[in-house]
Amino acid sequence: MAATDQPIAQPYDFLEQQFHTKQRGLWAQAWQRLLRNRLAVAAGVILLVILTVSLAADFSRTVQRYDPTVPDFQATEQNPSRDHWLGTDTLGRDLWARLLQGTLFSLKIGLGTQVIVLLIGVTIGMAAALAGRYSDTILMWLTDLAYAFPDLLAIILLRQVLLGRDWPIIGEGDPQIPGFNGVLLVTVIAISFVSWTTVARLVRGQMLSIKEQDYVAAARAMGASPWRVVRVHMLPNTLSAVIVSATFGIPLAIFAEATLGFIGLGVPPPNASLGSLIGSGLDSIQVHPVQLIWPTLMVATLMLCFTFLGDGLRDALDPRTRH
């Protein structure tokens, strides 16, 4: 055999590749299954459209049509018309612009919450499952603690403690993350703080059961480093459950934000969320119902779409449901 600059293949590389192929195959198959689920596809498309339009409105006045923060006292509480597609609110602001602004904000809350939930949940769940008995006990005790702590109290107190400070990023000081102001982040942090326990438990349970699977034992026997085993074999297999849980978590976070608005802890102007729009809509339920109808329809659409997408993802990703 001539010397080449090709590195000499390690015996397990071959197997590894096979796993990779299989892995890719898994995702591809899942994608195929998802595409066959008409309801889930429709839900996904609708969500994409909503996200695109509300993002576009944030950048382009053509889509947004009116400034959502500028009142017009001559045109208050109008019903839908050619000028104002969805009507105007109590202060005469265009409801189309307001709805898009609120939708984007709520989507940011939903997605942002799930990002943080996954970060905390996966880390703690994984550490508990893999880092030995003592860490497991301590981490699960922490999880129990966060779980037994009343959600609403935690949200209210955290929000109270964090909101309106001069801190950077999560406060009003510099620097700020563009598109994610302090109010948004505090709301996200407060809601995530009470939502991560489910994911942590889920990940721990999945990891514990995968740890015992044959292919993991095989990979370990072949000398793969523990980190590699986790990264290549265990995380992807946990991921499906986590993705599904995150999909369901997004609308729940949007709901939670709406409830906060109900007790007077909603997002303050000039921000608007679907929750704050519903809040002001409720005041007008008898006099000018369109103010309530649009944000409610939007929340309902988001809830349904994420639910159907989540169901579709679960069916597609869960190997046990393969027909």
């Binding site: 923060t69 500028v70 009142p71 006292f73 208050t76 109590t90 202060l91 005469g92 109270q160 309106g164 007077g264 802890l265 909603g266 303050p268 102007p269 000039p270 704050s276 809040g279 002001s280 409720l282 005041d283 007008s284 339920i285 008898q286 006099v287």
Partner: protein, 568 residues
């Protein structure tokens, strides 16, 4: 509620009614004997119409505490006057009329000693005699540091009341000593004597308010004893509780030993509901007969319940309150500019659906004897003047205007209000202010420690006199002066007015004080007077509005005995 319970309640009511009739007859005889001193007990000439009938259910707000010597919550005070009465009671025009007292008080020539005769044979609802000792105990409770009554400050003129109240850290024996020094004593069971430090023309009004209500000596072992709850307590007012579930409802029945105008209904049910929108729906279905109107719905209510919607001016003023020590609102021109750049008429129309009255006056017209509008030329909407003033302050067209934050409680209405003001000032002055929304306790905490630049706030009257709109509020360093207002001329006028026994002069001095206060928007630029809005079914009569703080819940809260219903 079980049927059995209903039957029980009905039979109980029957017994009570019989007993009440018997007692009433006895009282009538007594009154006949003593020559019936007119006033409240006079029976109507039409004769036997006194028998109460029917039930009225009203939407109410759960009270916090049942203790009249402790509480300062409007919803509590509403309840207190249903079931207790003081020596006097404020009539519809807010003049004190004898209630438990037999005629007006005798005032000594130096104006510092009040002697009040009680009606004869007064009884608590359990039949025990109600004497001057009970009134002594009531006032002592309000002055008691361990009770920590919120309204002690209105009795500060009573001899020794402050000394006792400030003795929280002293030993029990020392407190007992100070208690005895409080200037109130029972000369005999029917005669109460109160000594005050300075002659105070408004003092008789205080004898009609809850801090001076009697305390049942036979129920309280000492001045420190805990105040019994609704079902354990005894009463001297027109009604008394017959059933109570916290946060749900209370039922009131006529008090058999009530000596005032005979009550008109045999049962009043208070339903405790937090959300006015819910209450209005309950009004629509007939679950409540009277309620506050949900103001955001006012436009609809005006047509839906054209005849049943009642709007009354409440004695409450809200405006822009400035912390005059903080830049930029330390400059009078800035304060005037902000006030003049606010279109109050549009504000009230858009944000409040005309559920308030735009104003530039601090004291409501009912109280200062003026017509209103006197300060429009100084504070009223005038964009040109506003721009001039801002330029005079050194910020032409808003250039270089420092950061200004408006602090608001997070409610739907306040969001609209804040955004309205923000937009108005941007439009007329070219300045960008910041809105900060916090929950109500945070707002109060910031306000009470003067940690704010600009808030919306104002005053809700405690008792019907112009002095209540100034004393302690606007004098330099006064305890409620959180805007840090300090105008020597204002201090002098208030000092002159304070214990002035010449009533006309006194009222004129307070009018002068208002002028000085508003001249440069010192501390406040009034925006609106609140209207109280109620829905009352047509079958109810006798809900007489008299603008008391308690009346923010139902009109005529202070005259529950006059309520009647034609529905059986």
């Amino acid at each position: 509620m079980t049927k059995r319970y209903w039957r029980m309640l009905l039979s109980m009511l029957a017994i009570v009614a019989v007993a009440a009739a018997a007692v009433a007859c006895g009282d009538d005889d007594d009154n006949g004997g003593s020559g019936g001193s007119g006033g409240a007990t006079a029976t109507s000439p039409s004769g036997g119409s006194a028998k109460p009938s029917g039930t009225i259910t009203i939407g109410a707000t759960q009270f916090e505490t049942w203790d009249p010597h402790f509480s300062d919550f409007a919803q509590d005070i509403t309840h207190f006057v249903y079931v207790w009465r003081g020596l006097y009671h404020l009539d519809v025009n807010d003049h004190p009329q004898p209630a438990m007292a037999d005629g007006q008080p005798q005032v000594s020539s130096d104006g510092k000693t009040y002697t009040v005769k009680l009606k004869k044979d007064l009884k608590w609802s359990d039949g025990q005699p109600l004497t001057a000792e009970d009134f002594v105990l009531g006032i002592q409770r309000t002055c008691n540091p361990d009770v920590a009554g919120h309204y002690q400050y209105i009795l500060t003129n009573i001899v020794g009341c402050d000394d006792y109240y400030n003795a929280a850290d002293k030993s029990a024996a020392e407190k007992e000593e100070l208690r005895k020094k409080v200037g109130v004593r029972a000369v005999d069971p029917l005669t109460l004597e109160v000594k005050i430090q300075e002659p105070q023309p408004t003092f008789p009004i205080l004898l009609a308010l809850w801090p001076t209500f009697p305390a049942p000596k036979h129920k309280l072992a000492s001045v420190d004893a805990p105040w019994p709850g609704p079902m354990e307590n005894v009463y001297n007012g027109p009604f008394m509780p017959s059933a109570y579930t916290e946060k749900a409802s209370m039922e009131l029945k006529p008090n058999p030993n009530w000596v005032g105008t005979p009550v008109g209904v045999e049962k009043v049910v208070l339903k405790y509901v937090d959300d006015p929108a819910v209450l209005n729906n309950a009004y629509r279905t007939g679950e409540v007969d009277a309620t506050v109107a949900n103001k955001p719905e006012l436009d609809k209510l005006k047509t839906e319940f054209a005849k049943e919607l009642q709007l009354y001016p409440a004695t409450r003023t809200i405006g822009l309150e400035f912390n005059v020590t903080k830049s930029p609102v330390d400059k009078p021109e800035v304060r005037l500019a902000l006030s003049q750049a606010t279109d109050r008429a549009t504000l009230v129309k858009v944000v409040f659906k005309d559920a308030n009255t735009p104003t530039t006056s601090w004291v409501p017209p009912a109280r200062n004897g003026l017509k209103g509008g006197e300060y429009d030329s100084i504070l009223g909407f005038n964009p040109t003047k506003a721009k001039e003033n801002l330029a005079k302050a050194g910020y032409p067209n808003g250039q270089g205007f420092p950061q200004l934050t408006l602090l608001l409680v997070d409610t739907q209405t306040n969001k609209l209000l804040g955004e309205f003001l923000q937009a108005e000032w941007k439009k007329h002055l070219g300045i960008d202010i910041k809105l900060e929304f916090v929950d109500s306790k945070t707002r109060s905490s910031r306000f009470n420690s003067s940690d704010f630049q600009l808030v919306t706030g104002g005053w809700q009257e405690d008792y019907p006199d112009p002095e209540n709109w100034f004393l302690g509020l606007w004098e330099t360093g006064a305890s409620l002066n959180k805007t840090k207002t300090s105008v020597p001329a204002l201090d002098q006028v208030i000092e002159k007015a304070k214990f002035n026994t010449n009533d006309e002069q006194r009222r004129q001095l307070y009018r002068d004080a208002e002028k000085i206060l508003l001249q440069e928007a010192n501390g406040v630029a009034p925006l609106w007077h609140t209207l109280a809005a109620f829905l009352v079914k047509p079958h109810i009569s006798g809900m007489v509005e008299n603008k008391r703080p308690g009346d923010t819940f139902v009109p005529g809260d202070w005259y529950i005995e006059l309520w009647k219903t034609s529905k059986k």
